[in-house]
Symmetry: C2
Subunit: 332 residues, 2 copies
DNA sequence: CTGAAAGCGCTTACAG
DNA sequence: CTGAAAGCGCTTACAG
């Protein structure tokens, strides 16, 4: 392979001069620069980034941890993150943890090896326990899409999930619903809290018994949880599902139970995924500012890398919005 | 940061010895090894992978190009690829091209810089034109999920898309349909050819006029194309959509046109995505061996990296299968 | 089994 | 504005 030395010889200069024209850090006489550039072109020289990284200590690569890439939410996080990185000339090292703590731990441990300049961890599933591994790391770390309590040492760019739940609750309240049940993933306690707060504002209580846990965010789990909820609370006029896919399952279960939506039963969901738009009726859901979140998180990381300034003030929470569609209606 | 030299001093040996215990390539006396390992633990030494890469010429990183990560198909490719890489101790550098030729070109060009050991390119959208950039590359390249003609110089692991179309056609034929229309993405000519072949086997012709192009694989485009098809061919009893999401749009358009599925109109799709399972009626669709494909492609790459053997025989095509669900029925 | 030397291809001060 | 030197942290033959 052709090295900087080869280019230098061809151009009749030393390799430091070639380095100078490439980096632009030191001015080079135009005639010399022209000779160097010509030599680069003739030889088809491409700098060896590994060697550069060893010398500079920077790989221009950022690590991204996501639980999975096969949900619209994380797919968007990945693509938005990549766009911002690309704009800054950085590359993306991807790791999907699959909500597998051991896998996450192993990969986290492998990151100490100087191969990335910064790390973005999106989503807390299975990771929280292993975060201490990152405490002595020498590159900046930012957390995003974080729904549980995060260690104070890391900046976190996330959504106000509690408010998301609140919006869902307020929406049902505004439609006159008083008797409701909730289908929730175990990780979604913030959403449930917010939902409850909306009812509490009107002096209404959503009892713990009205919350039905769905072990995982899947269509099947949604059907099961909805079935249980509809059986336990036959008089409920509305359902809040903490995730769209759960709500799609609920739609199915409601159909099976002979309840028509939204006339006999309103369903409000959370996350506003494409599945919710495809569902019939289309789902009323709380939309997440996914791309803004990813953009802001990577932006924070870029500034941390480039400025080497002390950590910025803890960023604020991004606000979700409710999108009313066909699955909710005034209490009949 | 602590280097190999620090470990060596602490253990009272030279850094070569430390390197030897780490690599295991050269036997080290047990007592020495114990001292070295102790020093590593005490100092919390982690090898600098960049330095190792410069010395060895290998980064243990594989690049993966996908058009996007936000379809179930490519999400699966990414996750499966990552699993296999992980098992081999390799990392994943991800690049989503977004079907943007210029973006693909730029990233492809950036790959010559010694930062990856191999490259997997999944999906041909926007890339075919830029493949010559890879001709003089010094790392192995494998193509997968390739639906158009690929340059002969690269091994390609892909699906028999023509056969997929054939399966869809044969299915409709077996159900007695003779008068059909097709909704196709421009890139899906193989699928359409196969579909036609199934009809041709029975001496039936699917005229070019029966093929309606959908500019992009989206719900909206599916609606438009289906609308056009149903208007132009009111007597068609079945539709073949070359992609599930197109078919979901077709379902909607059929409903709007007062056609009930599958009684008045059968719809067979291709790709068997989660959207097809969520649709009502559920979609009959041709399923792709996605994970097998990704696994085989990365496997090929791993062997190419590690064996340095000449390129293997061109791998065969993987076979799709038809999954019959609710959207197709015997011609009424 | 262990150590001394050279080298991977770059960058970064530092002289001139 | 250009060149000589040292160094980034590792590995790889090669002696002993």
């Amino acid at each position: 392979m052709v090295t900087m030395q080869d280019v230098a010889e061809r151009a009749g200069v030393t390799k430091q001069t070639v380095s100078n024209v490439l980096s632009g850090r030191v001015a080079v006489r135009p005639a010399t620069e022209a000779r160097v550039r010509a030599a680069i072109a003739e030889l088809g020289y491409v700098p060896n980034l590994v060697a550069r990284s060893l010398a500079t200590g920077s790989t221009r690569t950022v690590g991204l941890f996501v639980p999975t890439v096969s949900t619209a939410f994380y797919a968007e996080v990945v693509e938005e993150a990549e766009d911002v990185l690309d704009a800054h000339g950085y590359r993306l090292l991807l790791c999907t943890t699959r909500r597998d703590g051991e896998r996450a731990r192993r990969h986290l441990a492998g990151l100490t090896s100087r191969s990335i300049d910064a790390l973005l961890i999106a989503g807390d599933q299975g990771l929280t326990d292993h975060l201490p591994l990152l405490s002595r790391t020498r590159f900046p770390v930012v957390l995003c899409a974080w729904e549980t309590r995060a260690p104070a040492e890391f900046p976190v760019v996330t959504v106000d999930y509690e408010h998301g739940g609140y919006l869902a609750g307020r929406h049902l309240r505004e439609l006159g619903h008083r008797n409701v049940a909730v289908l929730a993933s175990p990780a979604h306690t913030l959403r449930v809290n917010g939902f409850r707060r909306a009812f509490a504002e009107d002096g209404l209580d959503v009892p713990a018994g009205a919350v039905h846990l769905a072990p995982e965010p899947s269509f099947r789990a949604g059907i099961e949880a909805a079935r249980a909820a509809l059986t336990a609370h036959p008089s409920a006029t509305a359902l809040f599902a903490t995730h769209d896919v759960l709500a799609v399952g609920a739609l199915e279960a409601a159909r099976d139970a002979g309840r028509s939506i939204p006339d006999d039963l309103s369903v409000v969901a959370h996350d506003d995924t494409p599945e919710g738009l495809l569902a019939r009726p289309t789902l009323t859901s709380v939309a997440l500012p996914t791309r803004e979140m990813a953009r802001e998180a990577i932006g924070l990381l870029m500034r941390a890398i480039e400025n080497t300034t002390p950590t910025e003030p803890r960023p604020g929470l991004l606000q979700p919005t409710l999108i009313a569609r066909e699955s909710t209606a005034r209490r009949g």
